[in-house]
Symmetry: C2
Subunit: 214 residues, 2 copies
Amino acid sequence: VRVVIPLFDGMTMLDAVGPYEVLSRIPEAEIIVAAKIPGEVRNDMRSFALVADRWLDDIRDADVLVVPGGTATRALVYDQQLVEWIRAIHHTTTWTTSVCTGSLLLGAAGALEGLQATTHWLELDRLREFGATPSNERVVVQGKVITAAGVSAGIDMALTLAALLAGDQVAQAIQLSIEYDPQPPFRAGSPATAPPDVVDVVRRIALQRQGAAT
Amino acid sequence: VRVVIPLFDGMTMLDAVGPYEVLSRIPEAEIIVAAKIPGEVRNDMRSFALVADRWLDDIRDADVLVVPGGTATRALVYDQQLVEWIRAIHHTTTWTTSVCTGSLLLGAAGALEGLQATTHWLELDRLREFGATPSNERVVVQGKVITAAGVSAGIDMALTLAALLAGDQVAQAIQLSIEYDPQPPFRAGSPATAPPDVVDVVRRIALQRQGAAT
């Protein structure tokens, strides 16, 4: 299984690394990490960086495409080179997937037209711009397109995909290997369960950031 | 809050990136990512790399130390430079933490003597070598030392720590920001809940790898 993960400055690291830790453990998986220019790719908090090993334009096909999100996706939906590359790879894949606002890039590439899809809960409505119907599910499988909710949802998405690619037992063995037996100390992980004042705080901070960026 | 994360070749990426995505969202957190030599640090699967921005020896203190694990920790418990550095930083911290087999490095540095602690479930017994008592809890808080179970447990650990550092509301806002509302497709994340044949498979693969490494 040839898994391609495109990286870009301003991405959220966990969006890529969560699925990576799952998919890289599928027997005989080949993981390819690429960017427009290989080398250091800085994240959206600016305090941590990943390394892309390959040129994006050298990658012409993939069995699995995993598109991470991050604050940069807001601008990258207008990046013709990246969007066209995603569109071209999508035509070759068995599975096209996204984490968080990576779904906005899939949308810009036309891959979500007419589908149900998800993204970070703060950006759900934006999916309509790309002809998709927002879903409140954490992992949404539609034909060969799988979208995951915000950041940490990529782990759940990748375990679902591992089962589709290699069977339930392999997916369970991977889950056990990364000891994914989540026990969050709070029930605050979704706007449906978090205390309303916490939802307000996060929404307000997000709006301030958007204001500062425009 | 000054958070220091040491990186090393042969680490598990999610061990560092999981806590990073939580702790970096604490207001005014400063995250410092360091290695013996700054630059590219390749992970234990060899197919992905992180970037260390600072020299380990330039870092003399931390409010929070987060030590990731990975297959390299087996050898690194004998690495005097790294172990001495951890010991020295531990003397300056408010919180000393580890994810997965990062606890073996804390143990080698003498930080677990007389404490309950955890690590990846496959390595739990090794904690006794360092005077610690293995615990089956996912996150173990003992004085200022917090150890987390395998790989993905770093996210739960960091949310626990975020609440201790900045209060419950901040921790909940971070949990909501990374949409950490886990919904694994299987109940296979711990040896207590995974199907017995899956536990056997993972144990056998781990033993084969150890055999190959020695």
